[in-house]
Symmetry: C2
Subunit: 329 residues, 2 copies
């Protein structure tokens, strides 16, 4: 035996027998092609399918066609709110095309092996929201699996990339802090401090206004990171009156740290953050945040991957959603 499934499978042969047709006809009717089937025959087949409770075997189909109906998304951790929302958005976009989504978590050093496993699974396309390491890139290029790298500030080689305009978005936020609220000492909190386009946006906005760079405190993107950063900021840079946070979650942690000292935003420190997540609206005070159009990005990522567009970069505008943490209202 060749390792057949214990769970007895109803196969298309059973259906064909019951319907009194050949297996080919069963395929034709189930797939609406590539050959036409007479209405009466079709009805008989469908009836047989129903009677038998037949369920097509996706693995067999994938083997035969060389394609699965699986899309894969690689993120650092779904745990982080931003990626959770991204996963939800991609899942919706995938479902709209009749595809299922595999969500894989991979920190930088695991991206290559994870991608390797995924392409072996014959996924229809790959959406990488984690770090596109050189090794990982090699994997999907070698396999020829259509791939899009997202959350990318700018093109990478000849890959298909897509992402918000981190720099301009951040500039909007910092600019608002300067022009609308008159801040002169504006810190940057979180994320990698070098290489991040948000940092560049912050730097540029400050320079354009002729202001000195406030302190930039590196860290991650989580609430815990935000708390740490804010504690340090409060301790070491009392002259700062406003801060730009690399993520909404970070800002939420920063708010918590501020509260520890009895401080409040925006009075004691004005805050603008990045992401435009739903959570931002429910922070106290509600966060003014640079919105990333996640749904549009997810939608485009999926359609592009399916169209197998192999290169280019799409940049999305990131607009400021003004709420209370910056001092407005």
């Amino acid at each position: 035996m060749s390792g057949a499934d214990q769970r007895r499978g109803v196969t298309r042969a059973d259906v064909a027998r019951l319907a009194g047709v050949s297996t080919a006809v069963v395929s034709y009717t189930l797939n609406d092609g590539p050959k036409p089937v007479a209405a009466a025959t079709k009805a008989r087949v469908l009836e047989a399918v129903r009677l038998l409770g037949y369920r097509p075997n996706a693995a067999a189909r994938a083997l035969s066609t060389g394609q699965s109906d699986l899309l894969a998304l690689v993120v650092p951790t779904v745990e982080q709110s931003y990626f959770a929302h991204l996963a939800a958005a991609v899942e919706r976009a995938a479902a709209a095309h009749g595809l299922s989504l595999i969500v894989a978590n991979a920190m930088p050093d695991r991206v290559a092996p994870v991608v390797r496993g995924l392409v072996g699974r014959q996924v229809r396309g790959l959406i990488i929201a984690a770090e596109a390491t050189a090794d990982a890139t090699k994997e999907f290029l070698a396999a020829g699996t259509p791939t899009v790298v997202i959350n990318q500030a700018s093109p990478i080689g000849s890959l298909l990339t897509l992402g918000p305009d981190y720099r301009a978005g951040t500039m909007n936020g910092v600019h608002h802090l300067i022009e609308a609220h008159g801040h002169r000492r504006i810190a940057y909190l979180g994320g990698d401090v070098d290489g991040d386009e948000r940092v560049r946006g912050w730097t540029d906005a400050l320079s354009a206004a002729g202001l000195a760079l406030g302190p930039a405190l590196a860290g991650g993107f989580t609430p815990a990171d935000g708390r740490t950063a804010m504690r340090a900021l409060l301790r070491e840079h009392p002259e700062v009156t406003a801060a730009f946070c690399a993520s909404d979650q970070l800002a939420i942690g920063a708010l918590a740290a501020l509260a520890e000292t009895g401080g409040r935003a925006p009075d004691d420190l004005a805050l603008v953050s990045f992401d435009g997540s739903p959570e931002a609206e429910f922070a106290v005070p509600a966060l003014t945040t640079v919105n990333v159009p996640i749904d549009a990005m997810a939608h485009d990522a999926v359609t592009r991957v399916l169209d197998d567009i192999s290169a280019g970069h799409v940049r999305y505008e990131a607009e400021l959603i003004v709420r209370r943490s910056c001092g407005c209202q």
Copy 2:
């Protein structure tokens, strides 16, 4: 042609040829069995694999063995923080077994079709954190796919179920509000008001203390729902001094609504919520919350599904994490 992949595939035959062995030996070495392979031969095969950049075809393997290395998780929406954390936890548990995770979103009316698609994909197991409708149950039972229904308060028929002790957990929380802080008018916010074991826990704790039931305001579990519920509570039930929230996210929305009126927790209204999510720690004030041991549940769900344990119920204790929103400290 049979629909072969455009992307030229290196197959085990190529590897076998290069290594000068048979395809069976390639399988044996790659799978570590079922037959032994001489060390030298194994090395040659592995070398050939490397040279060719060979990647096993998962679909072929799945077809042959009748098993994939896919696990599926069905949730209402990954978007909701609780499910995002659950997905992350399940993904980790699955990865520990070398399996990938398909995350499918399905509202109640879509659960059955989604499950049907998943079992057709030969998933190794199914973890249902969405509503296990009768139709959906029929699907996985018919296919014989090992399934566990989680977030379940109590056993359902002869299915394998698992979940926190919603009732006892909630009782802990309400009890704390009564005993430690002397509240007498305690509301219940969010979720379905009937059928939810949390509501029963709230009712029971109040009754046990000889207190009248405070108002119970139904709704969902999101921050927006919490805001709505809290606004109504403030408007219609000024006598209430404390509230139990069905989820942490709900409590976060409730906190925002409280702040709108200039109120603060715990002074104006004490809050205890349910979930024990990481976010609870960063709310202002930090939320006292009933902890759901998500990692343990995810771990057990995965191992049980893989062991194909077909029935029974596992209940997890939900302990109170005491922070500031209840009035402590």
